[in-house]
């Protein structure tokens, strides 16, 4: 495995009863890349996210992250290794404030223990202050600093999506998985989101894998694309290559098979 490689999925299949959601899936992502995963509805894109993050255990195959296998680990252990994600259907801590949402994500980098929190001694004070500062900083980047005390469920939809990304970043990941970050956003918001993804990738030194249906966003920022259909990769390549790939056009437009 080359040093530059961050994630490798080899020959992964995911079977639910009689349904093969994903079969013979191969993927390889290098450090610093921005990769898109596209495909028609029900193609198995979110399933891919779920077996990378440990929500599902792949039926067969191997997933390696940062040189080590992550198959069999629980989702929280995978987050601690450095993979963070957002969800297609937003899963915020909806009754909590915006700030608390992000603070929770600092969990795996907090070291103080039970007695230190009860008696507020030792590392409690300094770590809590650091958590607070870092969270405020993150929220500023995502233009949520004036909504810090707002309850998360009261935020507008676009802001909720931004908060989810901010929360994922607070876990300090190496690899960020975004599941339809632009869903429900208007073109203006989508454009801003694109700029933001570019910016955070550069400034946090992140590797990003995103699922998206909005082609302007996918073609605008992704360097490489994987196209899934019926759980199988039908094409990979640069956005230009994908746009001209007859298989992809068939999958998306439903045209007759071109031989």
């Amino acid at each position: 495995m080359s040093k530059n490689e961050l994630l490798r999925a080899e020959n992964v299949s995911q079977v639910f009863g009689g349904l093969r959601a994903v079969s013979n899936f191969d993927m390889q992502i290098n450090r610093g890349e921005l990769i898109g995963l596209i495909g028609p509805n029900g193609a198995g894109k979110t399933t891919v996210f779920n077996f990378i993050t440990g929500v599902y255990q792949p039926t067969t195959g191997e997933v390696e992250f940062d040189g080590k296998s992550v198959v069999g680990l629980a989702p929280y252990e995978i987050t601690q290794r450095g993979i963070a994600r957002t969800f297609q259907n937003i899963r915020l801590f909806s009754e909590l404030s915006v700030l608390d949402n992000v603070k929770i994500a600092k969990h795996c980098h907090t070291k103080y223990g039970l007695l230190e929190s009860i008696f507020r001694v030792g590392r409690y004070e300094s770590e809590e202050k650091q958590i607070e500062d870092e969270c405020r900083e993150l929220l500023k980047i995502f233009k949520l600093e004036d909504k810090i005390d707002e309850t998360a469920k009261n935020l507008p939809y676009g802001a909720q999506r931004r908060l989810e990304i901010a929360r994922a970043l607070a876990t300090q990941p190496k690899l960020l998985l975004l599941d339809e970050p632009a869903a429900g956003m208007n073109p203006q918001e989508t454009h801003e989101l694109m700029e933001m993804i570019r910016w955070i990738r550069k400034n946090f030194g992140l590797t990003v894998l995103l699922i998206e249906h909005d082609m302007s966003l996918v073609m605008g920022i992704c360097e490489r694309l994987y196209v899934l259909e019926y759980g199988m990769i039908i094409a990979t390549g640069t956005p230009e290559e994908i746009q001209n790939n007859p298989e992809v056009i068939r999958a998306y437009l439903g045209a007759e098979t071109i031989n």
Partner: protein, 319 residues
């Protein structure tokens, strides 16, 4: 000294002042024997409600067996003082440790269950604890344990309450408490944020059980006799009512809930035939008009009239 620790110290000082006021009222016999007993019960119920709130309200795990842990604390405590002549303090700690260990052992397998299933499992386990105690002749079986020294007084209860509230307040305002609250809010998201959900559910359950053990010890040493009949699932329900009535996820709510429920049942002691009817009606009305409980998720320090006062304690300047 840091501002947060200063705030804690001021709150403790405030607690001492309240303690002094009540103690004077008791010594001068302004509070009679009947209300003095109810004051102790309110305190014990506050410990029960606050510790159950940590499990049900903050961590969102619906437990219905809290009286079982109280029974363990009570019986371990009375054996320690009556049979081994240990001081009450040691008895309370032994009771807390025993209830905590049992909570840990029960929590590990049952907390895999969710919602209704967990409620039924904990209900059953609470009953198992009671029935096991009922069949141990060493502690008197169904007839109960007799000849317990009367060691509980207002000071013991008050400082146990203060310690419980202090402990739980600081727990939920730490990273560990945030992890528990995250589990309540969205378990899948909590796991995705790196929270080991099983660990924190079991942690909350164990801490809650340990405090129920302390409450049990205080309860037992207030009477000359305890029997398994005091720890039925009806008792568990009663603590649950206090928590829900006060507000799931609010410590102030647990205090208010324990106070209101104990007060209503004491005030209606003269009308035994109407007591349960009025009690039930009060609950129905409350759930109609305030389903989130008296305090919802709010604490007294975040309600606007009190906020200024608490902010000044914390040393915040007006902005």
């Amino acid at each position: 000294m840091s501002s947060q620790r200063k705030y804690d110290l001021i709150l403790i000082l405030l607690g001492l002042v309240i303690f002094a006021i009540f103690e004077i009222l008791i010594v001068t016999k302004t509070i009679g024997a009947f209300w003095q007993l109810n004051l102790l019960l309110i305190g014990i119920n506050i410990i029960m409600a606050a510790s159950l709130n940590l499990i049900n309200g903050y961590t969102g795990q619906f437990s219905l067996g809290h009286a079982g842990f109280m029974a363990v604390g009570a019986y371990v405590g009375v054996v320690a003082t009556t049979n081994f002549h240990l001081p009450l303090f040691v008895a309370l700690i032994l009771g807390a440790v025993a209830a905590g260990i049992l909570g840990f052992l029960i929590g590990l397998p049952t907390l895999r269950l969710k919602g209704d299933y967990l409620a039924i499992a904990t209900l059953g386990l609470g009953e198992i604890i009671r029935i096991v105690i009922m069949n141990i002749d060493y502690v008197g079986g169904a007839a109960g344990f007799k000849g317990i020294p009367h060691l509980t007084n207002f000071a013991w209860v008050f400082f146990a309450v203060l310690f419980t509230l202090f402990f739980i307040k600081n727990f939920v305002n730490s990273d560990l408490g945030r992890a528990c609250i995250a589990i309540r809010e969205n378990e899948i998201a909590a796991e995705a944020m790196g929270v080991n959900t099983t660990k924190f559910k079991v942690m909350a359950f164990t801490i809650g059980a340990a405090f129920a053990g302390i409450a049990g010890g205080l309860f037992a040493h207030n009477f000359y006799l305890i029997s398994p009949a005091s720890f039925t699932f009806m008792a568990s329900f009663n603590y649950l009512i206090m928590v829900v009535l006060g507000g799931l996820g609010s410590l102030t709510g647990s205090i208010a809930g324990a106070f209101v429920v104990t007060f209503i049942s004491a005030a209606l002691a003269d009308l035994p035939e109407f007591r349960m009817i009025i009690y039930a009606l009060a609950l129905i009305l409350l759930m109609f008009y305030r389903p989130q409980g008296l305090f919802g998720y709010m604490e007294i320090s975040s309600i606007s009239i009190f906020r200024k006062f608490f902010d000044r304690l914390k040393g915040k300047r007006d902005v």
